[in-house]
């Protein structure tokens, strides 16, 4: 699996999650981010105590059990303040491989140095948008620290769900239900109730599609803390959250996907060798499917949208061609409103600029299709014309098999 690691939805680092938690008064262990060994040592000294945790900051889970390419074991270490500089030095600037990063791993640029806490019990707490119910749902469990899907499967009775009315918002009785359901009493119940209220406010105000705390811990000294968190944000709402957009770390993302997003193209790299360029998300998915159906493997999802310009099509072509695994290209356009000739001109311009080293199959249908086909023919480029979608997929698969 080459590129499936990061979720498409924007991710943030653990230290950035802590910034949001602090802002909304969701308690989490004290900690600071460090980009060098010296900063890490200073952070540890600032925290005090005889033990601290040093955590590599990458957008991937499984850090604790990961291995650095320099042979160093583990992306999370519990150490004395004196050891912090040495440990941080073996992480920063090194590549960490975990079960979620794929074998190429991720470069660690920063570490977080945090307070070590003594855990009494691990809980699970998440708020996410439930599309079926069309409202937020709180999901909580006393079985934290592990994969919640596994808990849901093996022990469904251990999962609490509380739907929140979209217009009423979180009600005190709902907070009490979850608090009692998790078995919190006395001061812990009071702390948890406040935490849940603040977390709900964060979820809404930051337009999260999910915020997941796993684990949420009760400590031996009587505190309730968010120990690790995962955030997903609604891409559609990022325009009203410049502060969250600032958190975006393009170094963590696929460079081709970053380049595509600069041109407002919707591109996701996959493992195959037949690239596709399609207008419309549904048709783009369906084009991937039909390539597979005819025995090929799609190299990407690429939706140029309903109103793509010649420049965007050219940019899309360059992105496709920079994936060295690609052995053939299938362009599938149903030009409803979009002019097929615009697509054809974009294809020709891109091919003339970057060259066309591999087979290109084009299926054009719809608006101004005759002009589009004429443009492709007149270009003198070696383009394989297809009559319909099935014909296009067959020709693309055949072209790379030759």
């Amino acid at each position: 699996m080459r590129r499936f690691r990061a979720a498409r939805l924007m991710n943030i680092h653990e230290y950035q999650a802590k910034i949001l938690f602090d802002q909304f008064s969701v308690p989490s262990p004290r900690g600071m981010v460090a980009g060098t060994s010296e900063e890490a040592a200073a952070a540890a000294a600032g925290l005090g105590g005889d033990r601290v945790v040093v955590k590599a900051q990458v957008h991937a889970g499984g850090r604790g059990k990961g291995t650095f390419k320099n042979g160093f074991q583990g992306g999370v270490h519990l150490v004395s303040p004196g050891e912090v500089a040495g440990i941080a030095g073996r992480m920063i600037g090194e590549v960490l491989v975990t079960k979620q990063t794929g074998e190429e791993g991720k470069l660690v640029r920063k570490v977080m140095v945090g307070e070590a806490v003594d855990v009494r019990h691990e809980y699970y707490l998440a708020i996410l948008m439930d599309r079926a119910a069309c409202c937020p749902v709180i999901v909580a469990s006393t079985e934290g620290g592990m994969d919640i899907e596994e808990v849901a499967e093996k022990n469904p009775g251990k999962i609490l769900r509380e739907h929140v009315h979209p217009l009423m918002g979180l009600q005190p009785y709902e907070v009490r239900k979850v608090t009692v359901g998790l078995g919190f009493k006395g001061d812990e119940a009071r702390q948890f109730g406040k935490l849940l209220g603040n977390l709900y406010r964060l979820f809404l105000e930051c337009d999260c599609s999910m915020v997941e705390i796993n684990p949420l811990v009760g400590t031996t000294d009587g505190r309730i803390l968010a120990l690790d968190a995962k955030f997903n944000f609604d891409d559609n709402a990022l325009y009203r959250h410049p502060e969250i957009v600032e958190f975006r770390d393009v170094e963590e993302e696929d460079p081709l996907e970053v380049e595509a997003s600069r041109h407002s193209l919707n591109y996701i790299g996959l493992d195959g060798n037949i690239a596709c360029l399609v207008n419309g998300a549904g048709l783009a998915m369906a084009t991937m499917d039909i390539i597979k159906h005819h025995g090929g493997e799609p190299a990407n999802f690429l939706d140029v949208g309903g109103g793509a310009s010649q420049e965007q099509v050219a940019a899309a072509f360059k992105i496709i061609l920079s994936d060295k695994a690609v052995k053939g290209i299938l362009v599938n356009i149903f030009g409803g409103i979009m002019d097929c000739d615009v697509i054809a001109n974009g294809v020709v311009a891109a091919c003339k600029e970057v060259g066309l080293p591999i087979p290109l199959v084009v299926r054009l249908e719809g608006n101004n299709v005759a002009a589009g086909k004429a443009t492709l023919t007149a270009s003198g480029l070696n383009i394989i014309a297809a009559d319909d979608l099935a014909d296009a997929a067959e020709k693309a698969v055949a072209a790379i098999s030759d």
Binding site: M1, F4, A7, R8, L9, M129, R131, A132, C134, C135, P136, E149, H165, P166, L167, L204, D207, S209, D234, D235, N236, A237, Y239, R240, N266, I268, L270, V278, N279, G280, A281, G282, L283, A284, M285, A286, T287, M288, D289, I290, I291, K292, H293, P298, F301, D303, G306, F334, G335, G336, I337, E365, G366, N367, D388, L389, A390, A393
Partner: protein, 302 residues
């Protein structure tokens, strides 16, 4: 008959003075659709002109409906203001709001949907190609086209089409037009996780529509709406249904263009949906190129 809109349905366009809304208002006018009013706050009193057509622009939906008798609103307003625009039309009490706008925040739609519950106003979309009830003239001219679909690919006929995706809908429309079956009405319900009219809602409407003889349902990965529709169809639908589900090759955890098209926690895969549909007696096309032939199989048509 058709569903939701007829040839003579009067339509107002929210956002008619914007470039996107304006261009599609022109295409709808060319198609023969009764675009009777535009609404853009601050531009009331202006006239939207296209060839011989002169469409009055109002500041509010309330004024537009009062002056023109429009019963359906098409929303082309930018995402940040679209939720408000939908609510404005719902408040006036039009029959139907068709939200074309792509990129409305989920939190906004969650509130809009909750506010519209029980209002009796139907919402189609957002992030959808809209609705077409084809006309009976050449190239289906004279029909009611609300949204962004190309009019000329349609042909008035006997198939009802419901889909989450735009261009994939056109693919199904084209295949049914080429085979001569034509369409009663085509409804694009949109690719967002929270939307108005669902696959199930559309199936019910088509099932009750005399002109519709068979139904094509196009779905995609994510959510469970197609499964719910299939479960209903197996019990209640007395018309043949053919379907296609896009996204069999989509990897889990990656959002495939549409905000709703994401496989999470192993749920919403294409395979699971296809199995649920087949179990409900629906003929499922393996590829988008086979939508037309799946329909022939489901109906026995030649």
């Amino acid at each position: 008959m058709a569903i939701l809109v007829e040839e003579d349905t009067k339509v107002l366009v929210q956002g008619i003075t914007g470039s996107f809304g304006g261009r599609h208002a022109e295409l709808s006018l060319d198609y023969g659709t009764q675009i009777v009013a535009g609404v853009t706050p601050g531009k009331g009193g202006q006239t939207f002109e296209h060839g011989e057509y002169k469409v009055p622009v109002f500041d509010t939906v309330e004024q537009a409906v009062r002056e023109t008798g429009a019963t359906v609103s098409a929303v082309f307003v930018p995402p940040a203001f679209a939720g408000d625009a939908i609510l404005e039309s719902a408040d006036v009490g039009v029959d139907l709001v068709v939200a074309i706008t792509e990129g409305i925040p989920v939190r906004d739609m969650m509130k809009v949907r909750a506010a519209m519950t029980g209002s009796g106003v139907r919402l189609v979309g957002p992030n959808c190609p809209g609705i077409v009830t084809p006309g009976r003239s050449e190239d289906s001219q004279g029909g009611c086209r609300i949204g962004i679909a190309p009019g000329y690919i349609h042909k008035r006929g006997r198939v009802g089409i419901v889909s989450r995706s735009g261009t994939l809908t056109y693919e199904a429309v084209w295949q049914t037009t080429q085979r001569g079956y034509g369409q009663s009405t085509c409804v694009g319900i949109g690719g967002d996780p929270i939307n108005g009219t669902t696959h199930l809602d559309a199936l019910r409407l088509f099932n009750d529509d005399e002109e519709t003889e068979a139904i094509i349902m196009i779905g995609e990965i994510g959510g469970a709406a197609e499964e719910e529709a299939a479960a209903w169809a197996s019990e209640h639908c007395n018309k043949p249904v053919a379907a296609f589900i896009a996204g069999a090759t989509a990897p889990p955890g990656r959002r495939m263009g549409h905000a709703g098209a994401i496989i999470s926690g192993g749920k919403g895969t294409a395979q699971a949906k296809k199995e649920a549909l087949r179990a409900a007696g629906i003929t499922v096309a393996e590829t988008p190129a086979q939508i037309g032939s799946a329909l022939m199989e489901a109906t026995g048509w030649e």
